[in-house]
Symmetry: C2
């Protein structure tokens, strides 16, 4: 196999959007986007049009995750093609509007890259979220970001799970990138989380500029955590939780959980242990927004993806 044959031609990335406020109480993205809407110097790059955009302004106004329904689950084909008759939930109407502005999803007219900025209450550090293991442009961008950030780290969560994958706002773009930084409580802006997010965006935009200038990026490998399962809290017949995340697991996002390890602690002090087969790597541990989604953490498995060399078509 020659290096020539494995180099993939990718259309240049002229139109880039940065979404903030997809969840209105995740303040790092809201604040960065507001800042850049006033003065975009920091996100300008040669040959790239970068558009900062508040996706859910009514949720931002209320400092709540959403108004009627989760915008970041709303970009389904059914929603995007529903007749806009005024009876639809606010976020469904908004998804249609965003799809018209930055899509249409899956079409040649769609934006090239959308970065969607999120915060989590979990101790996940900096995380890039991918929706496809075959998007070599994104994999190369991640590799670039990781090298630029070192020795600080930025992990990759890959969600290609047939049942657990959801219809994100960023999925409108050709290359959707989720950026999840924590821990940060909802409704709080922490300087360390804010600056980490800002730095990742800087490197991501630098990569796009270099790519558009014709730089070729050689093959590389990218370690990822692939979503494998959703694990709920133990609950009673009324749906009330009966146990908390065990102190040994709390804040230990990305660390191995082995069969027999403590997972939950009941209110009378009993330990519930992980009974699955093989090592998993929990993440989104005890995320506030996921109580309503019946999810105490997301189980992942480690693997390494191979990224083809890419260059501008």
């Amino acid at each position: 196999m020659s290096s020539f044959s494995s180099c993939q031609s990718v259309r240049e990335a002229r139109r880039v959007a940065i979404f903030g406020g997809t969840h209105g109480n995740e303040l790092s993205g809201v604040t960065l986007v507001h800042l850049w809407m006033k003065n975009g110097t920091e996100i300008q790059r040669r040959g790239v049009e970068t558009r900062p955009f508040i996706t859910n302004p009514r949720a931002v106004e209320k400092c709540s995750r959403y108004v009627d329904t989760d915008l970041n689950r709303a970009f389904t084909p059914e929603n995007l093609s529903a007749p806009a008759d005024g009876q639809l939930p606010y976020e469904v109407l908004r998804a249609q509007e965003i799809n018209r502005m930055f899509g249409p999803k899956g079409s040649p007219d769609a934006y090239d890259v959308i970065f969607d900025l999120h915060n989590t209450t979990s101790n996940m550090g900096c995380t890039l979220i991918l929706e496809s293991s075959k998007d070599h442009f994104n994999l190369q961008m991640i590799n670039y970001i990781q090298k630029a950030l070192a020795p600080a780290s930025c992990l990759v969560l890959l969600n290609e799970h047939p049942l657990l994958k959801y219809s994100t706002a960023r999925s409108v773009a050709k290359h959707p990138v989720g950026l999840e930084v924590g821990p940060q409580p909802q409704g709080v802006l922490r300087s360390n989380i804010f600056e980490s997010m800002r730095e990742i965006l800087k490197h991501a935009l630098d990569f796009i500029e270099l790519f558009n200038e014709g730089v070729e990026f050689p093959p590389c490998s990218v370690p990822v955590f692939r979503v494998s399962e959703r694990v709920d809290y133990p609950r009673d017949a009324n749906g009330n939780i009966m146990a908390m995340v065990h102190p040994n697991l709390q804040d230990c996002d990305w660390e191995p959980l082995n069969p027999g390890d403590p997972m939950f602690q009941t209110f009378d002090g009993k330990t519930i242990r992980y009974q699955g087969s093989g090592t998993i790597y929990p993440t989104f541990i005890n995320e506030a927004a996921y109580y309503e989604k019946q999810q105490a953490f997301v189980a992942t498995r480690r693997e390494t993806l191979s990224a083809n060399a890419v260059r501008k078509a």
Copy 2:
């Protein structure tokens, strides 16, 4: 001065309430109260009737701080005496109901002690909140709790400030005690925070049992942090914040802030320093719920209160 003359007779504390869910998204108190409503063995003490109670069930249902207005600011004389005509905000009606059940506030019929359970996103650890420096029963209870917890600590925030004091739910009782434990994000239940809160309640109820049995508690001194000022984020003309809590101050609740110390960091990296006179001890630093109250932290000053000996009348 003989020890006899300084011993204060206090009415026994037969009726005690434990409030959870005064803010519906502060889950330690909500969970403990739900637990104890199902099985109250843990909070039963000889000669004490202890009643666990969810104060804002509609906010708990929504997992939000409140529905119409902050319940923990609603117990003003105006609200409590307003004609209940159905036009009142939900929390004002609820305050009237709670006042009928546990008060009336300021009357001999009021409950003896109300513990009100709160969580904060700030790094405050375990904090007891007092509304009066002259409540010797409460001061003795705090001294008892602190000794029982040692070497773990539980600090005391005293809010007697003429302008900054507010009309709490617990203020209905003869002896109101706020319990504030953090850091815990809104909508999240952390086992460490939950267990800390539970342990403090245990010691508090033990004290009440001993007191009712006639044990005399000798004079003691109680170090407190007295609320002196409210400090807001720097804001622009539209009320949007222009700076974040400085990383040197973030998570440093109860630590001294001296003139010249970094206090805020603007979005372009400039440091705003504390310019006041003398050392303050900030707390409630970067609390999520206080953005809407124009408050980045509460400034306090340290002092030591003297508690009289107390025994049952």
